[in-house]
Point group: C2
Chain length 226, copies 2
Amino acid sequence: MLTYSSTSRPSLQQIAPSGFPQISGAPASRQIEAIGVPMLFKRGNEVYGQGEPGEYIYRVVTGAVRACRILADGRRNIGAFYLPGDMFGLDAGPAHGFSAEAVTDSRLLVIRRRSVLALAASDNEVARELWSLTERELARALERAVLLSKTAQERMAGFVLEMAARAAGETIDLPMPRQDIADYLGLTIETVSRTLTSLEQQAAIELPNCHRIVLRNGPALKELNA
Amino acid sequence: MLTYSSTSRPSLQQIAPSGFPQISGAPASRQIEAIGVPMLFKRGNEVYGQGEPGEYIYRVVTGAVRACRILADGRRNIGAFYLPGDMFGLDAGPAHGFSAEAVTDSRLLVIRRRSVLALAASDNEVARELWSLTERELARALERAVLLSKTAQERMAGFVLEMAARAAGETIDLPMPRQDIADYLGLTIETVSRTLTSLEQQAAIELPNCHRIVLRNGPALKELNA
DNA sequence: CGGCGCCTTGAACCAAGTCAAGCTCTGTGG
DNA sequence: CCACAGAGCTTGACTTGGTTCAAGGCGCCG
């Protein structure tokens, strides 16, 4: 059984404060972003911890973030990956149920929750956007739960398709190591590796190197995805 | 492999329309409920179907509802159970990702989404309540995803604790059959049955009959829940 | 009282986990 | 520029938890 200890603390770096400009008439998401402060997080650093109050919400500009939880016995579970364009930190009822860590060096927009709420109070569009973002996050979480009750091959196919949907073309660059994929899919690293190899042998994908997947037969993967 | 065919259609029954009273100053949840129409759904009937637009949101008054999805090959997945007091139907971005069916004869409050949105537009409290409900639903979905990457015994313990948290005392009355529990936990009905028996043998629970579980040792279950 | 749906139990099987090498990058220092 | 070291990935052999297949029991309703 592989266990995890806590990640190193910040050493994060603020890039530039942007103040609180009032951008009326802009789309709601733009308005929310406008009150954010860009920051750099180094690979492996914690953005927020499990159990901390959700004081901020975030938007990934570049890089990748994982939402993870360490269980009492050391097992780790990854609840989501956030890629450029994604907002996260919405999973905080009273407190965050998961911690968030930078998978690679990442540039994040950090937005004060109170500020967004204030904005939402005066602007319906913003309030609606907040709800909509959370709704989308909910849909993703439910989708992952469905994935988790399937076979290893189906989970892997689902994961590849999920990643492919976010990549522009046929080539997927994975920012995360195999262990992260394993913890996301509820499998072991060995099973992830074997299953990817098997998908390659079935000519569904190509694996030029371990950080890259090339889609060769999307329909076949969708078939596997059940 | 057990497969599922579509459930019977409505035969639902409206109890009494309540109109659109304006209840200013009431708590947001009350205001939302006030614009709902109570309806009866018979055991097994569909409340809404997978892929349908989310025209309504619902509140369980009595009974129980399951959110489920049938996969292409006939496997079924249950995404959530909704018990008295729960609101559901919030998982509809453009359309419902899951269908909803009455587990037992159920009395539901049916609320037009458009009406809630209109209410939210003029009342911040309502808008916030909507967001908060969706956030809670998200937290539950993430929690279930964590559960799904554990062992059968841990899943079962988690399920029992989840149900116990909603029951007043030590006695849990399960409205759903074993097959529903299995599809919720991503297990087979046999494993559910065996695992419950095993928990009883460990003196963690008591099974007076198949619709009832009595908590005998909550702490032990929490231990198992990791 | 009989039949049927649902639940439990048993035995055999298999997918995924575990344990253990070995390989391949990638970065580093000589 | 190359050799080396280490982390991360792949592969193999074995084990095991959970599924599958099959039989039997229990309780409810007509």
